[in-house]
């Protein structure tokens, strides 16, 4: 009797939990392992099919080789693409967090009626499909788009338009990720007890000081989540840089699609995805480590109380 209940309590849920894990292992894990092996020049076994149709691939004579990675870093074009990916990701993430903070502060502490309007407006990007939004943005901003026409009629010409540039990609990424950022940060701000803010004000703390010493420290975790998740999303983004970006440099998400589909070089495409994966892995490590240390700090604080 006891045995059966233990079975029901322990092993059955475990088996049930195994199903999705097995699915992930077989349908995602195995292809990832194969793809990583392929980037190291392993063209045998299950990689034989992709290798048979690939052009210009590095094949390991015996064992594995770093040749494909060397080819990536030898190409000035791909180095420029990697650099563009990194700075576009960094800049769009920083701008997004800043804008999200400003909006969240306004919704929490600003004019109540306008705050309501703002909290509806910032949700809009969530309900517009990315393809449509990026196409609309880029046609608005392109050199012969509406914005240029408006500026032109005001006598402002020769102003660089962000359509089809990396800067345009930054704006597009901020636009689409904004709802996520504002929702998380304003949720964090709402949970800051009004007592704390009033107490701070009573002792004469300035707004800047309140922000820096009360609001920001209490919202570290939501801000961190927004930072990391936006950055990881931007790193691997495809639709926005594909529709809004320049012909060159390209973000790696676009370049890898071209290498895979248009240049017949799946190996280089997979090298790029491994590199993006490593950068994203680094970011997630920062996330996990700082989350843990923050939790520990909170635990210590509650203990000392």
């Amino acid at each position: 009797m006891r045995g059966r209940s233990r079975l029901a309590e322990g092993i059955l849920p475990f088996l049930a939990g195994c199903v999705p894990i097995l699915v992930v292992l077989v349908f995602t894990g195995l292809p990832i392992v194969l793809a990583v092996l392929y980037t190291f020049g392993d063209t045998g076994g299950l990689n034989a099919t992709v290798a048979a149709v690939a052009q210009h691939q590095v094949v390991a004579k015996d064992g594995l080789t770093l040749g494909a990675y060397r080819a990536f870093f030898d190409s000035s074009d791909l180095r420029a693409d990697l650099w563009a990916t990194l700075w576009i990701t960094g800049l769009s993430t920083v701008i997004l967090v800043a804008v999200a903070w400003v909006l969240a502060l306004f919704v929490r502490f600003g004019n109540r009626r306008l705050g309501h309007v703002a909290s509806t407006l910032y949700l809009i990007p969530m309900f517009i499909p990315v393809v449509i939004a990026s196409y609309a943005l880029v046609t608005f901003w392109e050199a012969n788009g509406r914005l240029a026409a408006l500026l032109n009629s005001a006598g402002i010409t020769h102003l660089g338009m962000p359509g089809y540039t990396s800067l345009g990609v930054v704006i597009g990424l901020v636009w689409t990720e904004l709802p996520f950022g504002v929702i998380l940060i304003s949720a964090g701000l709402q949970s800051v007890p009004a007592v704390l803010i009033d107490a701070g004000r009573d002792v004469g703390a300035s707004w800047v000081r309140l922000l820096w010493q009360v609001l920001v420290p209490l919202n570290k975790i939501p801000t961190l989540i927004v930072l990391i998740f936006t950055a990881v999303g931007a790193l691997g983004s495809f639709t926005i840089p594909d529709l809004m970006g320049a012909n060159s440099p390209q973000m790696l998400g676009v370049a890898m699609t071209d290498y895979y589909q248009s240049y017949g070089e799946p190996q280089m495409a997979e090298v790029m995805s491994v590199i993006i994966f490593l950068v994203a892995l680094g970011l997630s490590c920062i996330y996990v480590v700082s989350l843990r240390s923050e939790k520990r700090r909170q635990a210590m604080r509650s203990e000392s109380n």
Binding site: Q55, D77, A143, N144, S248, Y259, Q261, S262, G264
Partner: protein
């Protein structure tokens, strides 16, 4: 659109179900002497006697768009009715591929049927699986004995398919220009390059990965430095060492960048370049002959926009081939169909319905077709093989776009 398509199919099927018994009864009742009067196929018709028993053949195609401005599909509603009128005892079924996965599944079934020596699921195809079918030698080799009108087709195009595919239509990359801005367009590639340099910002082409119209211009420029003797390799094989001949062309394209629209903005796709032409942001671009012709016909671009082919070299194009599959029964009927698609009747319909170039050489094309395409009605260079086009795309990205 999808709904309309479904009702259309249903309508056809219903009509056929109602008419078929009548037709059979009719044939039974008509006296033998009257039969030849019913069917008077053209004299060039290959070995298909009007008294032969009625047969049905199946054609598969991935052309699944209705004729611009109508609800009619080219094969079902126009081309095949014309054929069935000339050959009343051959009935043609059409299967329209709805997606590329349909095509690749069909390819697998065709190859499987061949391995088991069974009849293939369709008798004729013109869809995107043709190149693969040719590689697998799944097509019947045809000669002008079976398809007499093949004599009018460019032998180079037939050779490229090992005589398994018969090009019955095609399209080529051509120049599209606004004749109010460009009264006398360049006629050669060298002339075009000079024109671009002397009119900075008034020309662009789409990036090669986003469409063949931009790619076609690049291929023509790269081709200029390839020795004539090596040129055929590019459309029949793959020798990477020959790509060293591209270097001067890539330099030319890179140096052209400053004179391209917006100092080097290459739009995504030829629809975008046509848009720029329509707005007069640019005065000239490259486009597909059928895309350009239908844009003019639909007034998507001003009526002053004209198409022209250049020479030395010409911009490339590609034919659409009909392939009769090995193991299909009633091959005589299939040959009769292929032959009829090359006839003046069908070639005029192809030009009218889908702005397609003729499959026969221009000198044999109906006059109305030649008139329709005007300066664009010239032979085209074959498109290079996919391994070369892959390398062209990559080299353009590294040497031109990021220069």
């Amino acid at each position: 659109m999808r709904y309309r398509h479904a009702t259309n199919l249903l309508g056809n099927r219903l009509g056929r179900a109602l008419l078929a018994p009548l037709a059979v009864a009719g044939i039974g009742l008509v006296p033998a002497a009257a039969a030849p009067a019913l069917a008077t196929p053209p004299p060039s018709e290959p070995g298909y006697s009007p008294t032969a028993k009625p047969v049905t053949i199946t054609v598969e195609t991935d052309s699944n768009q209705p004729i611009e401005g109508t609800h009619l599909f080219p094969y079902q509603n126009v081309w095949i009715p014309a054929f069935e009128k000339a050959y009343p005892n051959i009935h043609v079924n059409v299967i329209m591929a709805s997606s590329s996965s349909f095509d690749s599944a069909l390819y697998d079934r065709i190859i499987a049927a061949q391995h088991s020596h069974a009849a293939p699921p369709v008798d004729i195809t013109d869809s995107q699986i043709v190149p693969e079918l040719l590689l697998a030698h799944a097509g019947v080799t045809v000669t002008s004995k079976e398809v007499p009108n093949m004599d009018e087709v460019d032998p180079n195009l037939l050779q490229a398919t090992d005589y398994m595919g018969v090009p019955f239509r095609g399209s080529a990359v051509v120049l599209a220009y606004n004749s109010t801005d460009v009264p006398s367009p360049p006629t050669t590639l060298a002339g075009l390059l000079t024109w671009i340099r002397s009119h900075p910002g008034k020309f662009t082409y789409n990036s090669p990965t986003t469409g063949g119209a931009g790619y076609g211009f690049i291929q023509a420029v790269l081709q200029t430095n390839v020795p004539a003797g090596d040129l055929s390799v590019f459309s029949t094989g793959y020798k990477p060492s020959l790509e060293s001949y591209w270097a001067p062309g890539l330099k030319t394209l890179a140096s052209l960048k400053q004179d391209i629209y917006q100092n080097g903005l290459y739009p995504d796709g030829s629809a975008a370049t046509l848009q720029l032409l329509a707005n007069s942001d640019i005065w000239m671009t490259t486009t597909w002959s059928d895309e350009g012709a239908s844009a003019i016909a639909d007034h998507d671009v001003p009526s002053t926009v004209k198409l022209a082919q250049i020479s030395n070299p010409t911009l490339p194009g590609s034919p659409v081939d009909l392939v009769v599959l090995k193991g299909s029964p009633d091959q005589q009927a299939s040959f009769a169909f292929v032959n009829y698609m090359l006839s003046a009747t069908e070639q005029s319909l192809v030009a009218k319905d889908i702005q397609g170039f003729p499959g026969v050489e221009w000198k044999y094309a109906p006059k109305s077709v030649i008139d329709e395409f005007g300066n664009a009605a010239k032979n085209y260079t074959p498109y290079w093989d996919s391994q070369y086009t892959n390398d062209v795309n990559l080299k353009w990205q590294t040497d031109v776009a990021s220069s």
